[in-house]
Amino acid sequence: MLTKRIIPCLDIKNGRTVKGINFVDLRDAGDPVELAEIYAKTGADELVFLDISATEERRRTLADLVLRVAEKVNIPFTVGGGISSVEDVDILLHNGADKVSINSSAVKNPQLINDLVAKFGSQCIVVAIDAKQINGEWIVHLVGGKVPTTLNLFTWAKEVEDRGAGEILFTSMDHDGTKDGFANEALARLSTELNIPIIASGGAGNMQHFTDTFMEGKADAALAASVFHFKEIEIKDLKAELKRNNIPVRL
């Protein structure tokens, strides 16, 4: 049986791991390669590296990091942050990334999804969507959730699927950093309306939240950062708890 995935997310700035609290206040949480190795050994199913640096050196720094991670880590990993062209993706996949995640660049140029899928295949193209509710409607946001668009979450998600993306990483900006649980209602709707895997992100605070997002949110995978980085939740304990709740996991 296919298992539900637990995915620690490593926010990367200038080659170092950081975690944003509501994407603003950054705290250092260590060396990315070392942290990735620890996660691979302690039961993470997959890793996401999200590059949030904004320097001209960014592209090369990220490509170098991907190579160093691929050398050491024996589980799959996804890389995202500032990716906006076929060339960007080419070097990251070539260096050993399993998947890439695109966000703002897909909103600005939806054709990019089709182009990437045609060249590299659906299986490695993840589209990340950040959204929050405005007057009761889920609205897609850009730039780490700061800039609202006119796109409705569910309409955009459907378009992303139709254009060939293999997976959606949905972050609720209303939940991110709150440690109050995932956006399970929206997640369940995405999972029902779409036929590609959905990764839940934003709001993980305790182990029950993961059970809830798999049961109520129908998520295929759950992503979190600080609860793992600061050892508030051990992945081994989390998976044992999920198994007790009859959720299929890889132990």
Binding site: N74, I75, Q123, E167, I196
Partner: protein
């Protein structure tokens, strides 16, 4: 021990190279017939779309070389699928090594399948020291149905081939290079346990 990864422009080659490095072996990349035919072990990788990958194989005439190889060959993911008779993806004629047609998962399940599934009914030395129901990592939308060449099964809405074998040819739908310690055992078996038949 000369391990060659076929480099035809359609594969996550770096990851496979690093996986062997972690096991203490150096794998080299090659795209020419001589380099591939003189290998002790051949890895045939593949990610992406079937018809364009097959086109690349034909352009480099590797479609003629691979089926004639006598040493152990391991196709991974799309590599395995291209070793089959055909694929529904892009109506692709495959290498015809495995007598099975690759088809798409139905919409009863989410497509692609992404993540860790279990392998069962293990029937080859490739799985020495691997237990029934251990987890391996997969990413795919198309699958090879169960057939007489199936040496491992997985279940995703239906049972299908997680691995195939015919003579010296092996194929895994999953990515051993990304399947943690289980995958490392399988790669090690391919190198240390599977030998060229006399």
């Amino acid at each position: 021990m000369k391990i060659v990864i076929i480099d035809y422009g359609a594969g996550n080659i770096q990851s496979i190279k690093f996986a062997f490095q972690r096991l203490g072996y150096e794998a080299i990349l090659s795209k020419d017939a001589e380099g591939i035919m003189t290998a002790d072990k051949v890895i045939f990788p593949g990610v992406g779309e079937a018809s364009s990958a097959m086109k690349k194989l034909r352009e480099s005439k590797l479609d003629q070389i691979i089926p004639k190889l006598k040493q152990p060959v391991l196709g991974i993911c799309l590599g395995m699928q291209l070793m089959c008779h055909s694929s529904e993806e892009g109506n692709t004629q495959g290498l015809g090594i495995f007598d099975v047609d690759v088809v798409k998962f139905s919409n009863e399940v989410k497509v692609p399948q992404i993540g860790w599934n279990q392998i069962t009914n293990l029937k080859s030395d490739l799985f020495k020291n691997v237990n029934e129901k251990e987890h391996i990592y997969l990413v795919h939308s198309f699958y090879a149905p169960l057939c007489k060449e199936t040496i491992a099964e997985a279940d995703y809405g239906l049972g299908y081939s997680a691995a195939l074998r015919k003579d010296n040819f092996y194929g895994t739908q999953f990515h051993p290079e990304k399947s943690s310690e289980v995958g490392e055992r399988i790669l090690r078996n391919f190198i240390e346990t599977i030998h060229t038949p006399n």
